[in-house]
């Protein structure tokens, strides 16, 4: 017999052209004295629910965010991942059997922050965008590890399906480079960046140019369909 609880945790990263990358965290009370804890939005999967639908339902139920492209990136199964003291109080309030094992599947999303306004509900008392380098606290369970693994996945993949919705339908190569610099958290050399983009052969140069700029307008590009 190996019946196990299964949950979904969502690493939702928010992008804002002029800002740093942020992660969507919920805050939840861990006892009746209103002490709280931050966590990734996550909850148990329904008994007949598939993973992706479960992830979408859970994300919506805790933060109100919907219509988001979620991608599975890793499953976390340490038998002790919910056994730490810091988590026992919340588990005792919200789970019938707080000692049962929970394995969790991590999903990741990348969104334009301006398109979504998180609203907390269910056991989330707050849902907010937090700058990655300000996530210094202990999150619930193993959520610091899940967040780290999600960021590494994102930086390794830079999956076009994940990032294309961060860009307008037509964009300049400078906009694209800026996006990569924010996601990778490093400055890129302009010449090398353009050489690599042209080698990847995923973009089409359109006939259009930037409008309303003081400098020489740059060409606009779009992803090949």
């Amino acid at each position: 017999m190996s019946l196990i609880n299964l949950s979904i945790d969502c690493v939702v990263l928010g992008f804002d052209e002029d800002q740093k990358l942020k992660v969507l965290l919920i805050r939840k009370f861990v006892n009746e004295k209103n002490d709280f804890q931050f966590a990734l939005p996550g909850d148990l999967l329904g008994l007949d629910e598939d993973l992706l639908s479960g992830g979408k339902r859970i994300l919506k139920s805790l933060t109100s965010l919907e219509d988001i492209y979620l991608k599975q990136f890793y499953t976390f199964g340490n038998p002790d991942r919910t056994k730490q003291n810091k988590d026992q109080s919340w588990l005792n309030m919200y789970r019938k059997k707080p000692n049962e094992r929970v394995i969790t599947v991590g999903y990741i999303a990348l969104v334009k922050m301006e398109d979504y306004t998180p609203q907390p509900s269910s056991f989330a008392i707050d849902a907010q965008w937090v700058e990655l380098d300000k996530v210094s606290c202990d999150l619930a369970f193993d959520h610091n590890e899940i967040l780290d693994k999600g960021i590494k996945y994102l930086r390794k993949e830079l999956d076009h399906q994940l990032i294309s919705n961060l860009l307008p339908s037509r964009f300049t190569l400078s906009q694209l480079q800026k996006l990569y610099e924010i996601l990778l958290d490093e400055k890129l050399d302009k010449r090398n960046f353009r050489k690599n983009v042209s080698k990847d052969n995923l973009l089409v140069k359109t006939d259009e140019k930037q409008k309303g700029v003081a400098h020489k307008p740059a060409h606009l590009y779009t992803y090949k369909s």
Copy 2:
């Protein structure tokens, strides 16, 4: 309440320099008339077992293979993945509650076939290497889908940790190219291949050259440590 069975399925790919890529399949009886079915080696996770240890234990228990680098690649959670008619008979023989949902975590490995001799045990009556393009039958459960996803993962990643154990400690660029061609299942252009290898900057040219060859001996390379 969302208690779910959790299993691990292993996509173990075997490589043999002169051959095609092969996958390790087990054969299992599905009824008392000795009708059988092929499947990836997989079984339920123990209640307190972590995912990777479980994968190693299960692989060993069904095929005798051990000391293998297994890497998690995807989790399969379709609620109907064990509900097809073709699987009911086996489930009725081997599971106390054949209707309970099972979510499975896929692990992948790449090995030199010559280093491992599979020996069936437990409910496996046979464990054998099968050429990928000869896997034309319906495997158990959703194992055809898991195998496809594993192959795609391998081809997308070509993870150096996964492939470096397929090579001797020193190898020629031609050996490396041949390995990539087998893994990717396509011919590669020699000049482009070498350009990309040198750009990746992961190899070191040693002072040694091939020995005992009739043609001009090629330089030997090794991975940077």
